[in-house]
């Protein structure tokens, strides 16, 4: 390709992501986004101005050398680009798909001031897919063994990124997972159509090649306690168990059959593959030609509603108590959901689930809301409109209003400090807890957040754990 001037680069439009047609994809579980072609990737890479001081990197929680990898994409050296990303990111094909780039690296891109930001996420996805498909994921050199052992509790994004860094530094790493598959929320939470499970598996396999050991079916706190991990020879422990206790709304009727937490609905469909029932044994509510509502406005709500649509729901609603502007979900997810026929009902708050004599959900009584003064989150608080109650027929409802902290570790490890919600208290710079040798990060510390923030916490913890182990503070 010819060398372009800055002006010429700025005139190239942001390249669109090829995707499955909406009315086709809302009937299957195949991936929605199809990924850039080589041509699209090189064209998009030409849009990067190669800033002397790349501010985009500051927007990346794991500090990927964005400018440098995009330069190689522009030159057609896709494998070289993949290698650069992997210096900082253990799960690039995952992050290229599920990171909210528009709030992070792409929000900082200087192009976004007057034009559209460079599609950094799409390029990251392209190069990591390219490497995996062409030659298989390459693994970096591992430093000589230190003889130190680290136990990581939880195999979600925080645990995996921490494992990836620590194994490269020469430590022995074992990741303990309560479920029967590795990946945490990447496996049980995020649907196949947004993050194919074979991609998670490939990135996990790369960590195995590096020497990371994985133990499934290990519920730390019950199968082994944190203290027992130390007794078993581990020198440090990283707790990355996520936010695994779903909140319900505490309204009447919430225990009718057909009312799910988003965790249960998505776990049945994703982890247990209920969308392939009866080929797989685990069932989920049969959504075919049914009315379904998801309560909540985050990415999990979008995942749940798009899943319900794919399971054949006649009407699939998002019911959210604020307006569209306040929804925490990524714009791309909202856009995709709308294209797929999801109906959004804003400023609507459920008061009571209604059921029949056999205990099955039949409807919901809701109330219209209007926006009042901003609340603690800075978003305008929804206020009920008097006498605005009405009933909507429903066969299934999914409560997607977030997760609290799982109690198992807290109950069995009282000598770690927790806040009143059960989140683990840590030193933010080092992710150290109040217990010697124990670090924590991801949603169990921050409350519900994103995959990449959890990965960032995992990397911060890996640095701190490495310092701890090499400065021989370890017992």
């Amino acid at each position: 390709m010819p060398v372009l001037t800055k002006k010429e680069r700025m005139q190239i439009p942001r390249q669109p992501m090829p995707e499955q047609a909406p009315l086709e994809r809302n009937k299957n579980f195949l991936e929605v986004n199809l990924g850039f072609t080589e041509e699209l990737a090189r064209m998009e890479a030409q849009r990067c101005l190669q800033c002397p001081k790349p501010v985009c990197v500051e927007g990346c929680p794991v500090g990927v050398q964005i400018r440098d990898f995009i330069k190689l994409v522009g030159e057609g050296d896709f494998l070289g680009a993949a290698a650069i990303i992997k210096e900082d990111n253990a799960l690039p094909a995952v992050c290229g798909r599920v990171c909210p780039q528009e709030e992070q690296c792409e929000a900082r891109c200087v192009m976004s001031a007057k034009h559209d930001a460079v599609a950094i996420g799409r390029l990251e996805r392209f190069v990591s897919d390219y490497e995996r498909e062409k030659i298989g994921i390459r693994t970096p050199q591992v430093k000589p063994k230190t003889g130190k052992k680290v136990a990581i509790v939880g195999s979600g994004p925080a645990g995996l990124s921490c494992a990836g860094d620590l194994i490269q530094l020469g430590h022995d790493v074992t990741v303990f997972e309560a479920l029967h598959e590795i990946g945490g929320v990447l496996i049980y939470g995020i649907p196949e159509f947004r993050l194919p499970k074979n991609i998670v598996k490939a990135e996990v396999d790369a960590l195995k090649t590096l020497g990371v050991e994985f133990q499934t079916n290990a519920v730390i706190g019950l199968t082994d306690t944190i203290d027992e991990l130390f007794e078993n020879g581990y020198h440090a422990v990283f707790i990355a168990v996520g936010a695994g206790l779903p909140y319900f709304m505490n309204i009447p009727g919430e225990n009718f059959n057909g009312v799910y937490s988003a965790n249960e609905f998505l776990t049945r469909v994703n982890l247990m593959k209920a969308y392939k029932f009866p080929e797989y044994d685990t069932p989920v509510f049969d959504c075919k030609n049914k009315n379904v509502a998801i309560f909540g406005g985050g990415n999990t709500a979008m995942d749940a509603v798009r899943t319900a649509k794919r399971l054949g729901a006649k009407n699939a609603y998002i019911m959210y108590r604020r307006s569209e502007k306040e929804m925490p979900a990524r714009l791309e997810e909202v856009h995709h959901a709308k294209q797929e026929g999801v109906e959004f009902v804003f400023l609507t708050n459920p008061l009571e689930f209604l059921g029949d004599e056999n205990g099955w959900l039949r409807g919901v009584k809701v109330q219209k809301m209007e926006l009042g003064e901003p609340d603690a989150s800075g978003r305008r608080r929804p206020v009920p409109i008097p006498n605005s109650e009405y009933r909507t027929d429903l066969d299934m409802a999914v409560v997607a209003i977030g997760n609290g902290s799982n109690p198992i570790i807290q109950k069995t490890t009282p000598d770690i400090s927790y806040n009143k919600w059960g989140n683990i208290l840590v030193d933010e710079a080092t992710m150290k807890t109040s217990k010697q040798g124990v670090f924590a990060g991801g949603d169990i510390v921050s409350g519900g957040a994103t995959v990449i923030l959890a990965m960032g916490a995992g990397r911060t913890a890996a640095k701190a754990i490495n310092n701890y182990l090499t400065n021989s503070e370890a017992r």
Binding site: F248, P278, N358, G359
Partner: protein
Amino acid sequence: MNKIITAEFLATDIKRFVIEAPKIAAKRKAGQFVIVRTDQTGERIPLTIADSNIEQGTITIIVQGIGKTTKAINQLNTGDFFLDVVGPLGKPSHIENFGTAISIGGGVGAAIAFPTAVALKEAGNHTIVINGARTKDLVLLETELKEVADEVYITTDDGSYGYHGFVTQKLQELIESGTKIDFVLSIGPIPMMRAVANTTKPYGIKTVVSLNPVMVDGTGMCGGCRATIDNKTVFVCVDGPEFDAHLVDFDLLTKRNRTYNQSEKAALEKHLCNYDKVFSDALVEELVNQ
């Protein structure tokens, strides 16, 4: 992968498995459960740990083949493997020297109540066991229980063995005969646990039931196992599985346990059709008739 050391039928369709699971064996206490899975397409099935042997590193589970997955589990034999066994899950039973304690089990619950009977006896209780079965062939662990408990009563619905009647009738007789009862634990079908709760309530006898609702992960992550206790929602997997019987909303429990009846029926029919190709007509007939 967890190897099956022994597998034997205790009664029609009720099978006892001793499985290799050294960590769980060392850790588990009476009242806790495991979740097992047989193969890549299988469901996660919660099962109470019926016994353990720390030296041999084994746990015992007892499975009643009801749905597709439990019937498939009961096809497994000595030397086969469970793909996944996770635990010990849930809170242990609260065991103390209450004085006189009665352990009541119905159906497969009779076997599941065994470890709690042992624990109650070890804590110094005068331990009475009432075990109910539909008919003589389904009576479980009578010999083992007689070795442990101070008094054992077997009841059968059809009168083919032991006391003719329900466990609650025997319980009522014991109460009325003036036996001072300080604690009752009941494990079995929901109607039985509800009847036990109703029997002891007027006398103010502390009564605990072990709930077995629909579960997925068993670690508090999904909330599918929620039940109402004292008008509050709980997650049985982390808050239980044992609760004060007089505070349980048994109606809700019954209804929620029917959530997947339709799907399970369809899955079982398909499962039996597949067996049709492999097994004799007679076996399929037998399974369908159960």
